[in-house]
């Protein structure tokens, strides 16, 4: 007999132990994923329950704080009205989003290629950004009338600045070595832009677009507060003046759901375009 030795597992035993370990890992990962989903949901339901309980126990009058069930009932009963008012707001927000971000991307491209343009216009953009949207919204309504245009312009303006700043930074976020590489390869200006600058700016751009997705909806709603007859903003004002709290809350829910959906759509696009991005992959 040979000296005492540890028994070595056969290849088959190795494989099966590895397999069971892998299955165990997958099960743990699934459990963690469910936990991530269920815990916030549970917390939200708990808070809603407490709210409902508070309203019933303390006999709070509906116009001060409606019970969640009352809000849900309004959501169901007046769903047509809510949707009809969501449509203009959604159109204004989306159009403003496209225009504001489009102009910002073009401006950032010009800034990166023409320092003088940046030096001339950037301070103005910063100054304009410090003016609150509620302050300049009435001016735009006076200029553009009480139609869709004013709201689109307001939504576009609130999107514009964050995207301009981020996109300019992103287009500049190329390393000196990468620029040297392009020079060694005798790359043209447009090749440097499309193959290097634009691609490295995408993480910055999407960070800005996610902000803009939320702010464009805010811009449209603020625009509607100034004398509009339809839209989420108009409905909020009407419901408030009528002490119709359930409708007010239901309107807010509809607006929020739209905002969140918009944000989620941009996030999904980001995941698609930035597969290569480390922070996304992690």
């Amino acid at each position: 007999m040979s000296a005492p030795s540890l028994t070595r597992p056969t290849a088959g035993e190795y494989a099966s132990s590895e397999e069971s370990a892998r299955a165990e890992f997958a099960a743990a990962a699934r459990a963690a994923a469910w936990r991530r989903r269920l815990l916030p949901l549970g917390a939200a339901l708990l808070l809603l329950g407490l709210w409902q309980l508070g309203v019933v126990v303390f006999h709070i009058r509906p116009f001060i704080a409606p019970a969640p069930t009352a809000v849900a009932a309004t959501l169901y009963d007046k769903f047509g009205l809510l949707l009809a008012n969501l449509a203009p707001t959604a159109i204004e927000a989306l159009a403003g989003f496209v225009i504001g971000n489009g102009v910002a991307i073009i401006a950032a491209t010009v800034f990166v290629h023409q320092r003088a343009a940046e030096e001339a216009f950037f301070p103005m953009a910063v100054m304009f950004h410090t003016v609150p949207v509620v302050a300049y919204a009435p001016i735009l309504v006076l200029m553009l009338g009480n139609g869709l245009e004013a709201k689109v312009a307001i939504a576009a303006l609130v999107c514009f600045f964050p995207t301009l700043v981020n996109m300019t930074r992103g287009l500049r976020a190329v390393s000196p070595q990468q620029m040297e590489l392009m020079r060694i390869l005798s790359a043209t200006r447009s090749e440097v832009f499309f193959k290097l600058r634009l691609m490295s700016s995408l993480p910055f751009l999407f960070a800005a677009l996610k902000i803009a997705a939320a702010t464009s909806v805010i811009g449209a709603i603020v625009g509607e507060w100034i004398g509009a007859t339809t839209g989420i903003g108009a409905l909020i004002i009407q419901a408030t003046y009528n002490f119709d709290s359930p409708l007010l809350y239901a309107t807010i829910v509809v607006g929020s759901v739209f905002s969140a959906t918009f944000f989620a759509a941009i996030s999904q696009l980001e995941r698609f375009f930035l597969k290569w991005n480390v922070s996304q992959a992690a």
């Binding site: 390393s175 990468q178 040297e180």
Partner: protein, 271 residues
């Protein structure tokens, strides 16, 4: 005085053309800033024969990276003459005769290994240039077969540097300029890549100019080591490496190598 580098090596295939690959005469580079004018390179003269392997060794601030960039036409010489493969550096660059490997791999994060290697073929009219090599073959040459579709963040530092080398080789350059390419890697990876670089050098027959701050790397890779001193950057000494034929890592334990390394260290201490 013009220090001449004698580079004795079995003729690679195809046989070397006459004339040096790199010839510098009294090259001076001065940078002028608001505060002061600094002389980065002071009257540098040397030449490297075609198919040669010269390593540049020196303390930081000795201008070795600047020198590499002068040869690559990335930095303009204030005065002096530069000839690369018989023409100006700019002409050599425009012909895609020059491949450059940076200290950080400088890969494009949104491109896979294969796409990164193919980048030189997509820009600057690269595909039409002479000698476009197959990117897959090059990745296999640098030991990355099977990693074609991996993104840079999925690769280790050493693997990223291998991709960068493959990218530099895709236009089949006659001159490879390497700026501390393995400086950020661990020693084990660096040793392995050093051996592989020698194999690639034999394989391609390219002339290599290699910047490093490692004495052992400089002595192991180069046919000659050019020692540089700092402030202002100048050539201190050019030392021929007396190692025969095909080099192996074990050669670093031979008396000749140990003695050479000791000599380089002594000279560096006075730089």
């Amino acid at each position: 005085m013009v220090p001449q580098v004698s580079l004795d090596r079995a003729p690679p295939t195809p046989p070397p053309q006459p004339g040096p690959a790199i010839q510098l005469r009294n090259v001076t580079v001065r940078f002028t800033s608001e505060r002061a004018a600094t002389t980065a390179l002071d009257r540098i003269s040397f030449s490297v024969q075609r198919g040669g392997f010269l390593t540049l060794l020196g303390p930081s601030g000795c201008g070795k990276s600047t020198l590499l960039r002068v040869v690559a036409d990335l930095v303009a010489a204030t005065w002096g003459e530069i000839e690369v493969l018989g023409t100006s550096a700019a002409a050599a660059r425009a012909r895609r005769d020059i491949g450059f490997v940076f200290q950080d791999a400088s890969l494009l994060a949104w491109r896979t290994s294969l796409e990164n290697v193919e980048l030189p073929l997509e820009v600057g009219g690269g595909a039409k240039r002479r000698g476009a090599r197959d990117a897959r073959e090059l990745l296999a040459l640098v030991g990355l077969a099977g990693w074609e579709n991996a993104y840079p963040h999925e690769l280790s530092g050493g693997m990223r540097q291998r991709v960068a080398i493959a990218r530099a080789l895709v236009n089949d350059p006659k001159l490879l300029l390497m700026d501390e390419p393995f400086g950020a890697l661990d020693e084990i990876t660096r040793d392995r890549l050093n051996e592989e670089l020698l194999r690639i050098w034999e394989n391609t027959g390219a002339t290599i100019l290699f910047v490093t701050h490692s004495i052992y790397e400089a002595a192991f890779l180069g046919q000659s080591v050019m020692l540089m001193a700092a402030r202002p950057g100048r050539v201190r000494e050019i030392v021929a490496v007396p190692l025969p034929g095909r080099r192996t890592l074990a050669m670093r334990e031979t008396p000749q190598f140990v003695e050479l390394a000791a000599h380089l260290r002594r000279v560096l201490e006075t730089c």
